[in-house]
């Protein structure tokens, strides 16, 4: 039998005015196990707390019930007081007789009766409380950043700056991501490469940063502070440690007809290639789908010209395993495929391009060396039409339901750059709304209109028809003039919606993080915890969480880094002891609990049991990781045998409260 102390607070007159506190203390004093029952004016005051502490020592209490305000107010206060008197803090229960009794009722008799019942329920519960100890789990002082775009690079740099080791896993042969493909950046029009490439170099040279390029995350196990990650280093058939990036192999490679993905397929590269001049790491990679040596076993030119002997046709995928304390997801975005929008003739006409293709067409390192020429006949376009919101803001059946956020601004940028460089070119922008929230953003858009005379027309383009004379007929309605327009354009640029990278969904499953229906990662709280995922130790950086422009991405990347650093500086994490646990003798291993766990805290182990007939049997049983479990209790109801129970809110505790109330 427990030795329980009951302490009834007057809270000045807050409780005492409507609840007869003496009567409550008196009534609860007769409950089984209660050895002392007292009332006091302000239980949370220092002298009130001393009353509790002294009683614990004097009466050797093994349970405490405080009838006072909401546990959300002072549960911690009384738990600390109990702890300082040598009682396990989880042997304290609060009966809420202020917010949920004295403040809502007027009649003293019935309010007192209710307060007594609430007190009895707390006494009944505390009888079944057991001492709980908050566990600690160590933190591995190393972070993993998944994705090497500007978001991943910024996060890695910030974490490295704080002195922690950090690995970047990038699926492409080089880091840099989408920003490396962009020509100029809004709203300042400075060159993207000029601000990005120094960061790439900095990342590669930082002693704390390891870059795993051409690699993918293959498996994630573990939990906050202690993730075990398998990284697949894909075979690039070139020894990274030997290759100097001299580029001789790429010059000599006879297979020159490979679509160049860095230039959006607008020109070709060789089978052995370095994506672009400033690639990091600057190491060649062989594309096995095109390499004649790997396909047919004939050629070997790259190997023979390589002075350092870096070519290795027999290289295979390699799996490395590493421990991390924190993981930052920075998987970024891609423009959507435009196959289903026949009306824009993207697949029919080479002069209908996406905005990202236009970036390459205008880039000095692009296919035309920076001169804007039509892809079809390499002539100078005199009339260019921009179409906004292609695939954005659509009904689910027609495209993406969200606004892609960056298109209004980059289109204004494109229009402006074209008008600046080629004043003889007419530029039309068909828009639904121009959305420019952001510092200096609207001013930027106004400059496109006022200074550069870009024709902004409100109305969506209805149909794009390539004509036999090489012009493109763009049919649209001008909603303000209330007339239908036909523009004979030389080029059409489509602002394709952006979507999360395809690798994000399987990654989310590995990380047991939540995603929304559009495959963007869900933040732990949309307002107050925007860079954390709901899964502890997993942070979100950049466009994997939602469409973002570069400044926002960098801001979020640094915020995610700060959160990760906040975790990495700790030597260990204190866990919430009110977590689920499974009774192995009763567990069926049926996986119901695992299915409802939002945190992936439950795993299964095969355990040997001694049977009553002295044989042993191996059974699959659930095991809860207390460092990951947040204590929601979803598993306890999913469990049919009742093997799964929750510390602090166990089946029998809640049942005893029910019984006490319903008596």
């Amino acid at each position: 039998m427990k030795r329980i102390g009951v302490f009834v607070c007057h809270c000045g007159t807050n409780i005492a005015a409507t609840v007869d506190v003496k009567a409550v203390a008196e009534a609860l004093g007769h409950e089984p196990g209660v050895v002392i029952s007292q009332d006091y004016q302000y239980m949370c005051s220092e002298s009130g707390q001393n009353l509790v502490k002294n009683a614990i020592k004097e009466h050797n209490l093994t349970g405490v019930v405080v009838c006072s305000c909401s546990p959300r107010m002072h549960e911690n206060t009384f738990r600390k007081a109990a702890a300082s008197a040598g009682l396990n803090p989880y042997l304290v229960e609060i009966a809420n007789i202020r917010e949920q009794c004295s403040w809502i009722h007027k009649d003293i008799a019935s309010a007192t009766e209710k307060a007594i019942i609430l007190g009895k329920a707390a006494v009944a519960k505390v009888h079944l409380n057991s001492p709980l100890t908050a566990g600690e789990s160590p933190v591995v002082k190393r972070a993993l950043v998944i994705g090497g775009g500007i978001a991943g690079i910024q996060t890695a740099l910030d974490i490295a700056e704080a002195g922690f080791d950090v690995d970047i896993v990038e699926k492409n042969p080089t880091i840099g991501g989408k920003m490396a493909q962009i020509d100029k950046t809004f709203p300042t029009l400075d060159c993207a490469a000029c601000i990005l490439t120094p960061k790439m170099v900095e990342a590669s040279q930082n002693e704390h940063i390891t870059i795993h390029s051409f690699s993918e995350v293959a498996d994630v196990k573990g939990f906050v502070g202690n993730f075990t990650v398998k990284i697949k280093k894909k075979a690039r058939f070139v020894d990274e440690t030997k290759c100097t990036g001299c580029g001789l192999c790429t010059e000599k490679c006879p297979m020159k007809k490979v679509p160049n993905e860095f230039n959006m397929g607008l020109d070709n590269r060789t089978a052995i290639y370095i994506p672009f001049a400033q690639a990091v790491p600057k190491v060649a990679t062989i594309d096995p789908n095109y390499c004649m040596m790997l396909q047919k076993g004939k050629c070997g030119i790259c190997s023979s010209v390589c002075s350092v002997g870096a070519i290795d046709y027999k290289q295979e995928d390699k799996i490395i395993e590493q421990q991390y304390g924190a993981i930052i997801v920075a998987t970024g975005f891609n423009p959507i495929k435009l196959d289903k929008y026949d009306e824009f003739a993207y697949n029919q006409c080479p002069d209908v391009v996406t905005s990202l293709e236009l970036e390459r067409l205008m880039n000095a390192a692009g296919p035309n060396g920076g001169t804007l020429l039509r892809p079809s006949d390499k002539t100078h376009p005199h009339k260019i039409v921009f179409v906004q919101c292609v695939g954005s803001r659509c009904d689910d059946s027609k495209g993406k339901p969200y606004c892609s956020k960056i298109c209004c601004m980059y289109t204004a940028k494109h229009a402006m750059l074209i008008r600046e460089k080629y004043p003889d070119t007419d530029v039309y922008v068909f828009y639904i709304d121009v959305r420019t929230p952001g510092k200096n953003f609207d001013e930027f858009y106004r400059r496109a209109v006022e200074q550069y005379n870009v024709h902004y027309i409100k109305g969506m383009v209805g149909k794009v028809t390539p004509r036999s004379d090489g012009k493109i007929d763009v049919q649209a309605s001008d909603l303000l003039a209330n007339e239908q327009l036909h523009i004979d354009a030389d080029m059409v640029v489509l602002a394709a919606a952006i979507e999360p990278d395809k690798t994000a969904r399987p990654l989310a499953t590995m990380l047991t993080t939540q995603m929304d229906t559009n495959d963007f990662f869900t933040e732990a709280h949309p307002k107050l915890r925007p860079v954390e995922s709901a899964t502890a130790g997993i942070f979100l950086s950049g466009a994997c969480q939602g469409p973002k422009d570069i400044p926002e991405t960098v801001a979020q990347a640094s915020a995610a880094a700060a959160k990760a650093i906040g975790l990495l500086v700790k030597n260990s994490i204190t866990c919430n002891p009110c977590v689920a646990h499974s009774d192995e003798l009763m567990c069926n291993g049926c996986s119901s609990c695992e299915k409802v766990c939002p945190y992936g805290a439950i795993t299964y182990i095969d355990k040997e049991f001694r049977m009553p007939d002295r044989t042993t049997a191996i059974r699959r049983v659930a095991s809860v990781n207390p460092a990951v479990c947040q204590g929601c209790g979803a598993c306890t109801v999913a469990c049919p045998s009742g093997a799964m129970d929750l510390n602090g809110f166990s089946n029998s505790q809640i049942m005893s409260e029910v019984d006490a109330i319903c008596k």
Partner: protein, 127 residues
């Protein structure tokens, strides 16, 4: 403004006009645009405002080819052609107001009037 009329159009078209984001792609894509006084996007907006009668009295309702280009291309699945069709239907239904009264027939009769015309007139207007 006739509220019932708006409800009738919404019901018979099955279209939720509030889904429209006013992009004008329907009008941008419409092959009959120049023939129409009110264009597809205006149909949707005017139905939303309840201004059905204006549409009913406009020739525009007969200019729509029902080619469904707007339905196909509307990014938000608003289906403007169905709205046009519904307004057209509303107009047809109101023709009940100009029913012919059998009492008026005798004075309309003259020797030149073919009998068939009387039968047709009844068939057309009596309902």
């Amino acid at each position: 403004m006739d509220k019932n009329l708006k409800e009738q159009v919404l019901r018979s078209s099955g279209v939720n006009v509030l889904k429209c984001m006013r992009c004008g792609k329907c009008s941008g894509t419409c092959p009959s645009y120049d023939e129409m006084e009110y264009h597809p996007h205006q149909f949707v907006y005017m139905v939303e405002r309840g201004d059905i009668e204006t549409l009913m009295h406009s020739k525009s309702i007969y200019k729509c080819l029902t080619c469904f280009a707007c339905v196909d291309r509307c990014p938000r699945n608003v289906e403007p052609a169905k709205v046009v069709e519904a307004v057209r239907l509303a107009a047809v239904r109101q023709q009940g107001n100009n029913h012919m009264n059998p009492n008026q027939i005798p004075e309309m009769l003259d020797d030149d009037l073919p009998q068939q015309a009387i039968v047709t007139a009844f068939r057309k207007y009596i309902k």
